[in-house]
Symmetry: C2
């Protein structure tokens, strides 16, 4: 057979695969700016003042895939104006409302290498050395949590039949993987029953004689846990939110009581989940007490340390997570406090054989006995993101992380002190790690509210809180729109739990960006005070109420 010659348009098209971007092309120039001065690039390219989303959407209306190819330079030009200009400067030192932070420069060229190599970690055949690299990352993180001995890691880190954890796109998939495995371990094959993985939940419950399953977690648990319960067929109502005490830590005594009641109803507690760094307040559940309870209940103990787990890298503060080494599984996100770009979560298993409960095979990959990572992951095809975690662990090292984590925690303590010192601000939750909540409450309102608390005057307190909600929202939105700085907001109980059970709006900050200075924190507060004092809807009413 004689091969046919390529046509002119085919030749032209092939050039995008064979001819690199010219060094002076629009896209190359953009790329150089990013390489040489990412902060400056973002500062200049992302517009400060917010454009309403409805206007941004106008640039993304076309629903036909365009017929004609567009020049890369035209596309890049266009994206700078429509996309980059209206993206979010997540790494700005004054944007302290997210869990994203500035990134180390070296991850940029490494990301490009990762994309250029385009490995698929589902199997050895398409990833080769990336597979042992990912296993090593899981091994290092496992050691960080569980500190097993040399023999343990030599036996299991690269073993075909087990896994020390699973690399995931993020903490949600990590939590799902952990609880999926826990469900399958609980309702495992037994006698005639071939296991829930094969035969499903109905037959599993019938075989083991349970009426239903439940998962217990703090009311501050991440919403991904409810999503997990839904997905696994357990149901969102069967993930029981357990009240927290005033310090936002789960009340283990109440959890024990709830478990006892469920047992009376023949509902098996499938897992209890400890939160190590709640998303809203950054607090850590009493993990040792939870481990004790899990042992009593003979159930799985999962710790969701998606955000807080990185604090284990600080020798000074890792004691805050004491008991995490007793968890059967632990979720940690590298893309949060480990300074890795978005898309790097992990779940770690204490027992290397644990994930066998979700093991699967196919004819063409994941064959029995292979070391293909995909046989024990929820995801299938996956990129080589583990490389970026590996790079951060090696280039930053324990000593580097010690400084970064400690500084974050100490910066949060500094900010908390600053808030306490400011007459018109009120600290709502103390930073245990580097996350805290607070709100703007004029001094006179603070005094009036304290009096109402003393009198147990719930009605007045409610009114104050309602007005404060409006004020806090106004300040948060205005600050975001002004574009100089950004704090997020959430709703938690700012009052003593014994006194009243309400949810009020508070500012929420996460201080993981190493470039955030004390001066910036002072400015954030000053800006908020200034915005608040300009408010004409809620502030006058609040001040009027103090007159009564």
């Amino acid at each position: 057979m004689t091969p046919r010659k390529a046509t002119a348009s085919e030749e032209a098209l092939l050039r995008i695969f064979t001819v690199p971007e010219a060094p002076d092309s629009t896209l190359s120039v953009i790329e150089q700016n990013i390489s040489q001065n990412l902060m400056g690039f973002l500062q200049e390219s992302v517009v400060a003042v917010e454009k309403p989303l409805s206007e941004v959407e106008l640039d993304f209306q076309q629903y036909h895939i365009p017929a004609s190819p567009q020049f890369v330079s035209d596309y890049a030009d266009n994206m700078m104006k429509t996309l980059v200009a209206h993206s979010v400067h997540t790494s700005a030192p004054s944007f302290i409302g997210h869990m994203t932070s500035a990134l180390p420069y070296f991850v940029l060229p490494l990301s490009k290498m990762m994309v250029g190599l385009n490995q698929n970690l589902v199997k050895i055949e398409t990833s080769k050395a990336f597979t042992p690299l990912e296993r090593q990352v899981l091994g290092m993180m496992h050691h960080l949590v569980y500190s097993q001995d040399e023999t343990f890691y030599q036996s299991w880190m690269h073993s075909a039949n087990v896994s020390l954890g699973a690399f995931c796109s993020g903490g949600t998939v990590a939590n799902i993987t952990a609880l999926w495995t826990a469900r399958n371990q609980l309702l495992k094959a037994d006698g005639d029953f071939k296991g829930v993985a094969k035969q499903g939940l109905i037959k599993g419950l019938r075989h083991y004689g349970y009426d239903d399953l439940a998962i217990l977690v703090s009311e501050r648990g991440h919403y991904s846990l409810a999503k997990t319960a839904d997905l696994l067929g357990v149901g969102r109502e069967n993930i029981i939110p357990v009240p927290t005490s005033n310090d936002n830590k789960v009340d283990v005594a109440q959890m024990r009581d709830i478990a006892a009641k469920l047992a009376q109803d023949n509902i098996k507690v499938m897992a209890i989940v400890g939160v190590a760094g709640t998303t809203e307040t950054g607090n850590i559940d009493p993990l040792n007490e939870l481990a004790d309870l899990a042992a009593e209940l003979n159930c799985h103990f999962h710790v969701d340390a998606a955000w807080g787990g990185a604090s284990l890298l600080s020798n000074k503060y890792r004691h805050l997570l004491a008991g995490i080494e007793r968890a059967d599984s632990v979720t940690i996100d590298a893309h949060k406090q480990m300074y890795v770009p978005m898309g790097a979560g992990m779940v770690l298993f204490k027992d290397p054989t644990f994930a066998n409960a979700i093991k699967h095979h196919a004819e063409y990959i994941l064959r029995q006995g292979s070391k293909d990572l995909g046989s024990q992951t929820l995801e299938g095809s996956r990129p080589g993101m583990a490389m970026l975690v590996h790079a951060c662990l090696k280039v930053i090292g324990r000593d580097g992380y010690e400084i970064l984590i400690n500084n974050s925690l100490e910066k949060a303590r500094y900010f908390a002190d600053l808030i306490i010192e400011e007459a018109d601000f009120e600290l709502v939750s103390q930073p245990e790690l580097c996350l805290l909540t607070y709100r703007y409450v004029p001094r006179s309102v603070q005094i009036a509210m304290a009096k109402a608390r003393e009198l147990g005057d719930i009605e007045t307190l409610s009114k104050f809180n309602q007005l404060l909600d409006g004020l806090t929202k106004f300040v948060q939105k205005t600050q975001r729109e002004q574009g100089t700085s950004f704090v997020s907001r959430t709703r938690i109980n700012p009052e003593n739990h014994q006194l009243m059970n309400i949810k009020a709006v508070v500012f929420r900050v996460v201080l993981a960006n190493p470039l955030t200075t004390h001066e910036i924190l002072q400015q954030v507060l000053a800006e908020q005070a200034q915005i608040a004092s300009s408010d004409t809807r809620f502030l006058p009413k609040l001040l009027e109420m103090t007159q009564h």
Copy 2:
């Protein structure tokens, strides 16, 4: 409060966040090589001859996170030797065993931009313009499948309360999302029952009076579907593999019979899944017939077009997927035949309100009425990968994809003809898209096997197939180890289904890489013939058998 001064080691550490890689640093030089000559870089950096995995693992043994930071240049040097050298050259034109391909150059700088921007698509607050961009990508892909009118996309593409699909890390998560939604729609809230999402599977089945659920799919369905059934609590045994005919398409009559039997047992068919491009043979199920059956059974119709869906971009060949527009949900991976880097899958929903069955909210994000994408995705935090799909759709365009897809399909037909022409090769499955399977069978063995078939001599055929399995495996492994070219292998029935039901090992190739030439295909066959003729274990026995 007076801010404290940074220490010297803090200052040093901060430099990785503030000082770009010097242009002459090791990592910068590597990056320039990648930018200027990716193919050359991979050719030079990835060693051709395979090193055993056990040896590669020796470089990834350390399980302690190192205490001291490592210089970026040292790290980069080391990774070039240990990681990159032993990664897989997935974009090589002669590596035709994967679904990965060469990538267009422009995705490299764009990936870096994506990482530098580090957006989190879970919510508007951390992604802003990336959210409408992702919705637009979903809109374009929705239009590619469903071709709704202008009013439809104007009403729904950017609507807060609905979604035209979900962007996922890959096809597995896309399939899970589709079937999760289908299960929740089937067992939705009704009267006292609050829905399976809230109350779980047990109560859902009890309320609707089903004994169990089932999913019907071709025996060629992707293994992620069984994983989905496990995860959802349906159970792997309840995803019923339906036999295929000789052309590897599902036998719809048999599927109908199975559904009838399940109905007798009070097992509700939750969904039927059509495969549009099976992973092993690349065939497309009769989608219109499946749509008819789904209507009869009043069940969800999902099409797994993870790999084949990109063929819709070809006006010449999209008729092969006729009926896909009748599916309730469709999975398409952009990182397969759409030339996007790893990590870009999508599920599309015919009905924009469909995904409301998995909708979820939280206090601090995904608030009611928000346009946060995270309220209808399985994953939580996610990177801005949609940008790379957007770029490919715009820069390659329909006209570009038309050429790329048509060339792939025609290259597969060319290769099939080549195999048929070669006396000692046997085409096992015809390419319907750009995937085909074949094996090396010496002419004399082909003749002997044809005779055995005529006589219905199953025993002889089995013996031949067994020996051929050994030979095929030997050839595939040797070729991979030699490092010049790579085909994958799988196990399918190479015989007439009526005659015998066996599984034999076959070569499997995917011809999506635009840089794969006809000459390369000729070389691949020549190399295989040469390796096969050098075999001393199976070939002599095969030839000996022909003497009887």
